[in-house]
Amino acid sequence: MTKKEWPLWEIFIRSQHGLAHKHVGSLHAADADMAINNARDVYTRRNEGVSLWVVRSADIVANDPNDREPLFEPAANKVYRHPTFFPMPEEVKHM
């Protein structure tokens, strides 16, 4: 008998009042449909009104932790890059 390991999938969920999909974890599934079903059972606990994204872990490209300085350092030491010097109007809720 052949036994096949299911590939790993990363799960992103937008909750009912959420603005963006958030990574919530990973799980194993044979294909995308099954990953959606499994994500429903493992992560949503049937909260109505959620949106689910599943993506094969193998399809995600992450940065090399060794590149942290060239990638992120410039932002941290140039404060003028951060638009925090003016008051935000009340009406603009989420930026």
């Binding site: 599934a29 044979a30 079903n37 049937r46």
Partner: protein, 251 residues
């Protein structure tokens, strides 16, 4: 009428309760973590529904029985669940085929029950229908995956289908209680579901490359009338032991 309604609610409550108990036996033993969670979720959905059906049954009866009394203090011959749901778990194929047959029936049944003249029944059915739609989607999906999977998984699904088939007929047999609640428009005549059930089951088995048994085959019966297979007493002995040992205890 209240006696028929009580018995009718017991049937719904008992089938969901017993199937929930069976599925709970899988906890920690599923073929994959994800399947384990899915079975536990399904078991919890069904238990929630059983509680609602049985609570309402207890209120209808006027004997002051609550859901716990009905679940824990009745003997096998007082249970009115379908024979199908009390069948042992067997392999994962056996469990999924049992689930698929029941989900397909229950999904159709709930479509009728949401139209019930009894508001409480319609409300319970409305809530349950959402959950059962998902159960059916999942069990149908797995039947196709396993049926159309490896030669081993295919033969396991086929033999589970053949083995459980004689337990499906009972779901479509109307007796005096079914007809009385159908007449009062609080329930429905189960024979009216048969052709839809057969054609849905046929379409899924077909996709799964599984041969459908003869629809006219001889069928087991008796669950709804309290005549059960030997499997139920063992299940109840385990489920009820604590309550029986400490009657009246609160937890």
């Amino acid at each position: 009428m209240s006696n028929e309604k009580f018995n009718y609610l017991l049937r719904l409550g008992d089938s969901t309760l017993i199937l929930s108990q069976r599925l709970s036996e899988w906890c920690g033993k599923g073929p994959a973590l994800e399947e384990d969670m899915a079975l536990a979720n399904t078991a919890l959905d069904l238990l929630g529904q059983a509680r609602q059906w049985l609570s309402y049954a207890g209120e209808t009866d006027g004997m002051g029985q609550d859901e716990d009394d009905l679940a824990y203090l009745r003997n096998a011959d007082q249970f009115a669940n379908f024979l199908l749901v009390e069948r042992p778990n067997g392999s994962y194929a056996d469990t999924m085929v049992r689930q698929f047959f029941f989900d397909a029936w229950y999904h159709l049944a709930l479509q009728k029950l949401v139209l019930s003249k009894d508001e409480r029944i319609a409300a319970i059915a409305g809530k349950a229908a959402k959950e059962v739609r998902y159960h059916l989607r999942r069990s149908s999906d797995l039947i196709v995956r396993l049926g159309d999977g490896t030669p081993t998984s295919r033969s396991m699904i086929q033999s589970a289908v053949d083995e459980l088939w004689p337990f499906t007929g009972e779901m479509f047999e109307a007796d005096a209680i079914d007809l009385a609640v159908a007449e009062a428009k609080i329930g429905f005549d189960p024979s009216s579901l048969r052709s839809d059930w057969l054609s849905y089951v046929h379409s899924v088995l077909d996709e799964a490359t599984i041969k459908m048994p003869n629809a006219e085959a001889w069928m087991q019966r008796g669950g709804k009338q309290g005549r059960h297979t030997e499997a139920l007493s063992y299940l109840l002995a385990e489920m009820q032991s604590l309550k029986r040992a400490h009657p009246g205890a609160a937890w």
